[in-house]
Subunit: 530 residues, 2 copies
Amino acid sequence: MALCLAVMPGAAGAQQADDLNRIIDEGFNRSEVMQTAEHLTDGIGGRMTNSPQMRAAEEWTAGQFRAWGLANVHKEGFNFGRGWWVRSAHAQMVSPRPIALTSIPVAWTPATNGVVSAPVIVAPMMKERDFDAWRGKLGGKIVLISMPGDGSEPGEPAFKRLTSEDIAKRDKFTPPDWDPAEVEKRLANSGFARKLDAFLKAEGAVAWARISQRDGKLLHGTGNRFRVGDEALLPGVEIAAEDYRRLARLAKVGPAPVLEIASDVVFDDSDHNAYNIVAEIPGTDPKAGYVMAGAHLDSWAAGDGASDNAAGSSMIMEAARILSKLGIKPKRTIRFALWAGEEQGLLGSMAWVDAHLAKRALAPGAGAEGSMEQTQRYRYRFPILPQPGYGDLKAYFNIDNGSGRLRGIHAEGNVAAVPLLKEWLTPFASLGANSVAAQSTGSTDHVYIQAVGAPGFQFIQDPLDYGSRVHHTSIDTFDHLKAEDMRQGAVVLAGMLFQSANSAKTLPRKPLPTQPAPTDPFEYEDPSEN
Amino acid sequence: MALCLAVMPGAAGAQQADDLNRIIDEGFNRSEVMQTAEHLTDGIGGRMTNSPQMRAAEEWTAGQFRAWGLANVHKEGFNFGRGWWVRSAHAQMVSPRPIALTSIPVAWTPATNGVVSAPVIVAPMMKERDFDAWRGKLGGKIVLISMPGDGSEPGEPAFKRLTSEDIAKRDKFTPPDWDPAEVEKRLANSGFARKLDAFLKAEGAVAWARISQRDGKLLHGTGNRFRVGDEALLPGVEIAAEDYRRLARLAKVGPAPVLEIASDVVFDDSDHNAYNIVAEIPGTDPKAGYVMAGAHLDSWAAGDGASDNAAGSSMIMEAARILSKLGIKPKRTIRFALWAGEEQGLLGSMAWVDAHLAKRALAPGAGAEGSMEQTQRYRYRFPILPQPGYGDLKAYFNIDNGSGRLRGIHAEGNVAAVPLLKEWLTPFASLGANSVAAQSTGSTDHVYIQAVGAPGFQFIQDPLDYGSRVHHTSIDTFDHLKAEDMRQGAVVLAGMLFQSANSAKTLPRKPLPTQPAPTDPFEYEDPSEN
């Protein structure tokens, strides 16, 4: 307590410190964070954007915000694409011997319309030039398009917590990585999956199968043909690595295995808009701007989207519940966002940035190109055109790294913000959340908030088994969430929101980003690479 | 070479050293060990004792031995029980929302005869006294009999090789653990599963489900009601931990989930005998006895029985192939055994001991009690009655710890054998197999050979991911076998057989075991434990 008083002296400071302890009391003694997570996962299940499950989650979360007394609860729609879900699916090898295959339809690929029975052909293709070798050989086949590879040898523990040394390594300024040429190099082969799909269709293949990217019978089922007008042509399935490799070996030593595949999937074109869910605790000073926390509500559907990201969504919602229940009247408005379309390229938060912060030369949702490509290109479309309210966002906190406890926060290269972030974390040092690491992080919804110069931050979290086995997989289920960690996360988040909403000081901002000069103007490209 | 010559001087020694190099040449340059393993796993699949797959494996392995020129290739039958296999199976939750459940029928439980549809009830029962709480509540239900527990937190690497320190820890004499009272204590609850099955049947339950012992969607399906006259009454399924826990949580917060289960399993009563496969390279000296290597050919059927134990079987077969191909004429006969019924209690090797080495007060296969119990009690049924040929077995080498390379051998408490075992391993030091560890090991087919006083040994192997994820699971497949390790294993085994078959010295034996005195005659049992 003495420490808090030292940081926030005076009568207002004492009240603030009391409120922090009330937050901790509510968040640890009367927590509802796991009930929230349980409903999102067990009750609703995997929430692919625009699927019936995501629609249910939109309604339920908005209803919870309202029930908890949040203000201005609403949905913000943006153009996304088709809804898609799996009614039922199965795959089996029927010869040379019967084996049930562990498999899942690839997202947004079409239904098989009953059982497809066909021999496999192992035809791994990585580049367009690989097509020639297989032309004329794929008709009537289920094409195994991946290299089978070898069994993994996991030499690191699957479940980990961060040591102080691990965290210290992240306290390293990341130079801006803006370089369109590098991005274009990475994207050079990005349209290949579409070309392959078209090639397979033209050759008369009946379906394709890929190997799971993790072994141990885990599945993912991720796919990206959700745009209207970009429909996939052939049914695709992901097969567990052990099963896929067995098929490939059998095909090599004997007659091609025959598979039966049935993919009863459903497209929903009733509404191509996806929706972010937004709720607020209104601030007492209309000119003080707002602070915000967000997590994506959408997920993949091999599991129940628990660690990715019912965990973060539930911590956001729980922070909202705690602050609302305590009757906190912050100076600044506290806004909560549950994003959609994150898994397809941070599309929900990108649309929100476009609507509320700044526009870019390339609008979200525009263009015939696939969304992942667009997302990657979005960062270097200049100029950035600030919109009314650009400066009002004083802090954005994102949670999207599973259910591990918060160990601190990434300053995301905004090193001038480090002292204030540290100050706000000070009360939570004994809860394990005491580090500010300079490093920039990617792949989630603070990225495009940061990218237009607004102060957006991703927390540091204990990784647990997020990367090793649950992220996007069939075991992303409630039982792999850690309740104690999530209670801590909601409390720390509520505390950060509370302090940033009331602080006399606001976080330093980065300058409005403008088109940078090339990193190395004297570099020549090696022509042999093209 | 200098080293080998130093160990085995003289003309015969030089020939022997040449032969060791020929074994290495054949085993590394023209290895067939992986082809053998591939046929057993991919080609035949899981080989539960007395299943059609095991019958196919019996025929195929005997045929391979014959094709490689082995002598006296034959099957040795012993009383086992019913064959059982899964034609097809599935389970799904149909309400409150549709989810395919990752599941497998429990071995030797009856078919559902079509689709069983029923609500679940979570009724974990561990002891007979738990029955009262559930009496009258189970009719028409699928009974979830396990505690759901929590998600695992695997803090150790799944894949490991042994360090010198790991091996050094095993070099510790294990005092004999003979203590009937301890065994009976362990077995006190061993008949419970039968009683539970009968209770559930009497209560009108339609099926039962248990949780997988590992999470991460791995399955096992192990069961033990294979004896004629000991038939299970109700269909049982094992459900992946993530799916089981979700069912239990949903049942707690809302209406009981309804499942559909279909178990199309087949019993085969055409032959209740199981068969060990035996083959030989005849010795030149009929009075010199024989040496032997063995591994169990049977497996569970969730996967293809690769690491457990197509790996060991293939190394045994490859050693036979190498020695036969090289035209080795050993002084002692070299015998190869592929055991059946190991997974149900070392039954094949136990039957072989009974037929060829020594009989006990309790014969294998006798008694109405379950086999696992019998197996555990077998060791303390005295007296041991040596049979003709008891002293002829000069060395038995067992492989049953996955596909990891051989790092040496366990002396199994026979410390007098350490020097000679070390001598025989000396040529293989640079292949990584140079350690002799005094420790006794259990749970596989050398146990009952050791237990009657014959010199039986289990190799030390790198564990890889055997214990962590492949042992008995749905990912016990060929792709998790390590080819380089298995080639090394076959070579080292062939070398050990070759040397022990030709050595002027034979391994020291333990005395014929007689009934030991109680470990601590002054110990009183705590009456409160009963």
